[in-house]
């Protein structure tokens, strides 16, 4: 008995078992609990009431739509600002030093609250009012690196021969861009959109800080409900957010995972 047990643990593939158990307890079960709580009431009886409450409640609904709006504005602005930057950095003839690329990615690793406080400080320093403008600026400032990085990655891996071939065949620079470079960089653009949209639509706390508590985003609604003990309603709101994000991430493709697995840390 002991011998067979020890042989079982000697097999290296058995070593994934502790982690499998860990993943079940700390990843799968918590997610199932969100589903469980959102379809039950305080007594644990099945109900659709939490979702009905969300649909009937104009304030929650408005916050939801407003958050999506802010997320779309942020994502589009990041795309418009970030794509040219990623393009310039990926082109060899512009000769951009490597440190500059690291500088673009660096803010991603600074605590989001510190970055947000820094934005508040900047607005104070320039004597600009806090509010919707500060909110959008803060969001762009916080999430722009998430747009630049994936686009830069795909552009850099692109086969340069294709661009030269297009040029040889007589395409003007505009055509080369719209017919070759842009379509080939779409995977990066899509994962950039997801990487910016997901955190902007789910943030909480930073909106309050940037608008002096005047504007509430959906993440804050979730947090407040959980904090005030309305776990079932909070769970239902989380599930709605999760569904929204799930729909978004359907657009990501396998290429994204390949990037992660190659061990590219930053």
């Amino acid at each position: 008995m002991i011998k067979s047990l020890s042989r079982f643990f000697m097999q290296r593939r058995s070593w994934s078992i502790p982690y499998a158990i860990f993943l079940f307890i700390f990843v799968l079960m918590p997610l199932l609990l969100i589903v469980y709580y959102s379809f039950t009431d305080e007594e644990g009886v099945f109900t659709m009431g939490n979702f009905r409450k969300f649909l009937m409640h104009p304030e929650a609904m408005n916050t939801f739509i407003y958050s999506i709006g802010i997320a779309i504005i942020t994502t589009l602005s990041c795309l418009l600002l970030g794509y040219p930057a990623a393009y310039i950095m990926s082109q060899k003839h512009f000769n951009v030093p490597k440190t500059m690329i690291v500088l673009f990615i660096l803010p991603m690793w600074v605590n989001i609250l510190i970055r947000t406080l820094a934005t508040v400080a900047l607005f104070d320093f320039l004597k600009l009012p806090l509010g919707e403008g500060a909110l959008v600026f803060g969001m762009i400032y916080n999430f722009l690196p998430f747009m630049v990085y994936p686009i830069y990655n795909t552009l850099q891996k692109m086969d340069h021969g294709l661009i030269e071939a297009a040029q040889d065949l007589g395409a003007n620079p505009m055509k080369v861009f719209t017919k070759v470079i842009l379509p080939l960089s779409m995977p990066g653009v899509i994962s950039g959109i997801v990487m910016v949209f997901m955190p902007t639509v789910s943030t909480f706390a930073i909106a309050e800080l940037l608008t002096m508590n005047n504007i509430k985003l959906f993440g804050t609604t979730v947090q407040e409900n959980i904090y005030n003990g309305m776990w079932n309603y909070g769970a239902a709101l989380s599930l709605i957010m999760l569904l929204l994000i799930g729909i978004m991430s359907l657009f990501t493709n396998e290429e994204d995972n390949a990037q992660n697995e190659s061990g590219g840390v930053i």
Partner: protein, 264 residues
Amino acid sequence: MMNRILAKGYLWFLLALLYSPILIIMIFSFTEAKVLGNWTGFSLKLYSSLFSGGMHHSLVSAIVNTFLIAFIAASVSTMLGSIAAIGIFNMRNPYSKSIINFTNNIPIMNPDIITGVSLFLLFVSFGISQGFTTVVLAHIAFCTPYVVLSVMPRLKKMNPNIYEAALDLGATPFQALRKVIFPEILPGMISGFILAFTLSIDDFAVTIFTIGNQGLETLSTFIYADARKGGLTPELRPLSTIIFVTVLVLLIIINKRAEKQKKE
């Protein structure tokens, strides 16, 4: 030529936009003024009062908690993740392998708030009182997947025959692990540890849902509580500066390591 200047100028403009907030905080960390934006001459007083404790005792204990949590979470994640990576790599059943890989990606893909809410529900459902332990557990939960992902490529690159050869030459499986596999995956483990450590220090969303209300504070929750009160503690300026510089140095180290690994 004109194009090149325009392109570089654009990059500098974006970088200025990205760094101006943090630069303002850095500059005003070297002056005493309570209100940010008032320059009252060069001074290191904020730095010294940050470290002398006393008045800002809660800030100091928040810093200590943050690092303690990060250290424990990163150490446990590194061990758990490395063992798991070896296990997953050697799994033969493709279905269970892809299930565990998929589950491993969930915490990475999930927004922080969902991870936070889900772990909060886990702890309250089982009546576990929230505090230091729950924060550490939560951090282990979202850090370990990154360790698995940074150890995995090292295993894939390894020559599988070396392990078999060690066994053929009479090494016990444990010896073979220690002398053959461990040195091969060590760089991945170190990168994974640093990554887990930075993620844990950085975290706000998961922490705030699992920290409970017994007065435990980490740096993120301290800053949040402080900012909500409206007044920014001036000592946060030197602190942000130190954190920013530390992250910069850590990142440069990670980057150098990654480049070196690529060359190998």
